[in-house]
């Protein structure tokens, strides 16, 4: 029986590649967007503007406080009632961007806050403007602190793309899911799915570990 299922699994490998491609596409686009948004929010969150800081804080709390599945459902099924009608793919990207940017925002804010106050003061007393201080002095140094957890967060985000399968995006997990319905050999199907995720995530984990060691010096 195993052998029979295995040959059927081999037969449909293009389908798995399609899923892998979809997963990579979602991951790549959403990582880029949420990095950009996350940095902007992170700078705001570490600033002194109490009102903006609070607003970002509420946003972050909402995203961190609710499961990603629920967020996706809300974006996909409920936002249309308020006039935002999105297909599964853009909805998945939006959900990923919203979730990822909230987490990256916290990492960036943490990195900026970790820079010794003296660096701000030294830059201030040379007469640099706020933006110059950030761009020339603070962010380049904060990158050291930001980079390792950022790459770690990328891994988490890539893995979270599996959840967008619930709104019908044919990515890797959903491919596994519809396959297991045809080939009732879960161990085999999901080992394969797991191995494909591993092949994307593990290099990034290694990179994150490497950065952590390197930046620690």
């Amino acid at each position: 029986m195993m052998g029979f299922y295995f040959s059927r699994l081999v037969e449909i490998y293009p389908f798995f590649l399609k899923g892998l491609w979809m997963t990579s596409k979602i991951a790549f686009i959403s990582l880029v967007t949420c990095t950009l948004i996350g940095f902007v929010l992170g700078v705001i969150r570490s600033s002194n503007n109490i009102i903006l800081k609070r607003i970002v804080g509420v946003y972050v709390a909402f995203v961190r406080g609710t499961p990603f599945v629920v967020q996706i459902f809300i974006i996909f099924f409920i936002l249309p009632d308020w006039g935002l009608q999105l297909d599964a793919f853009p909805a998945a990207l939006l959900a990923m961007a919203i979730m990822g940017s909230a987490f990256i925002c916290e990492i960036v804010a943490g990195g900026i806050n970790s820079i010794h106050k003296g660096q701000w003061e030294a830059a201030t007393s040379s007469g640099l403007t706020m933006i110059q201080q950030l761009r020339l002095v603070i962010v380049p140094q904060a990158m050291k602190v930001i980079l390792p957890p950022l790459v770690g967060q990328y891994v988490l985000l890539i893995k979270d793309t599996s959840v967008v399968s619930v709104i019908g995006v044919m990515e890797l997990t959903r491919v596994g899911w519809v396959t297991v319905v045809r080939i009732p050999e879960g161990l085999m199907v999901f080992s394969l799915v797991g191995a494909l995720y591993f092949s994307i995530s593990y290099p990034l984990i290694l990179l994150s570990n490497y950065l952590e060691r390197k930046m620690a010096i």
């Binding site: 996909f76 099924f77 044919m170 491919v175 009732p184």
Partner: protein, 242 residues
């Protein structure tokens, strides 16, 4: 403007299905949507002269998808009930099935009484007609609901998660060949009457609703309907092709 003219203007008919429910709608080995209902809706799109877009959902995503305007037609093995009809409109039934009880061959359950016991767990599909019927006919048994199509119950049964399953007989019968031979047995007695299956649309889409009815009338008379049913429901020929 009416839903129908919107579809034509858009050039695309959007259909919500639940993959994993062979032979109604599932994904073949090339990763393409296929199945009896997929064929019907393809025919509808052809008749309208538009492209088709299949949207794939879990069972509990189907109705939200329709309500939130993601899809024009809900094409699932869904029975029109009065409660459901409060929110969406069902077209005339295109098919009817009966609810059956199935168990493992070796389990030795014979009658409904055998499975209507407190120590028996019965698997049903979340929100399906089977769920309602199981609650009604097997009040003593524990009901456990599953998502993701009729095969999930069979797998749960074989894995020992449940002692019996309740689902429509057609879905069970067509799924059986994918599982080890003679591992599953249907109890003789069917539950309830014939349960119709219908396509659904939003209340507002009256014109689309009429159009679907007309469509089925048409294909029934020109033989396309019978061909579809013969291929998908009455044989297992399709398994070779998909």
């Amino acid at each position: 403007s009416s839903t129908l003219s919107e579809i034509v203007k858009r050039g695309e008919l959007r259909v919500a299905v639940q993959s994993g429910a062979a032979p109604y709608a599932f994904i073949d080995k090339h990763g393409e949507h296929t199945g009896s209902m997929v064929d019907f809706t393809r025919g509808m799109a052809d008749a309208m002269g538009v492209k088709i877009k299949i949207l794939d959902f879990d069972w509990d995503g189907l109705i939200p998808a329709l309500l939130s305007g993601k899809a024009d037609i809900l094409a699932a093995d869904m029975t029109p009930t009065l409660k459901r009809a409060l929110k969406i409109s069902f077209a005339d039934p295109w098919m009817s099935v009966q609810t059956c009880v199935f168990t493992k061959t070796g389990a030795g359950y014979q009658s409904l009484e055998d499975v209507n016991k407190p120590d028996i767990t019965v698997g049903v599909l979340l929100g399906s007609t089977g769920e309602t019927i199981a609650k009604q006919y097997l009040p003593n048994a524990k009901i456990k609901s599953y998502k993701g199509g009729g095969r999930m119950i069979i797998q749960a049964l074989l894995a020992g998660h449940v002692d019996a399953g309740v689902n429509d007989d057609l879905a069970v019968l067509t799924a059986l060949p994918d599982f080890p031979p003679n591992s599953i047995r249907l109890l003789d007695k069917r539950l309830g009457g014939k349960a119709p299956l219908s396509f659904a649309v939003l209340h507002e889409s009256v014109n689309l609703w009429q159009w679907i009815n007309l469509y089925f009338e048409t294909i029934r008379s020109n033989g396309a309907y019978d061909k579809n049913i013969a291929y998908w429901m009455e044989g297992i020929e399709w398994k070779k092709d998909h």
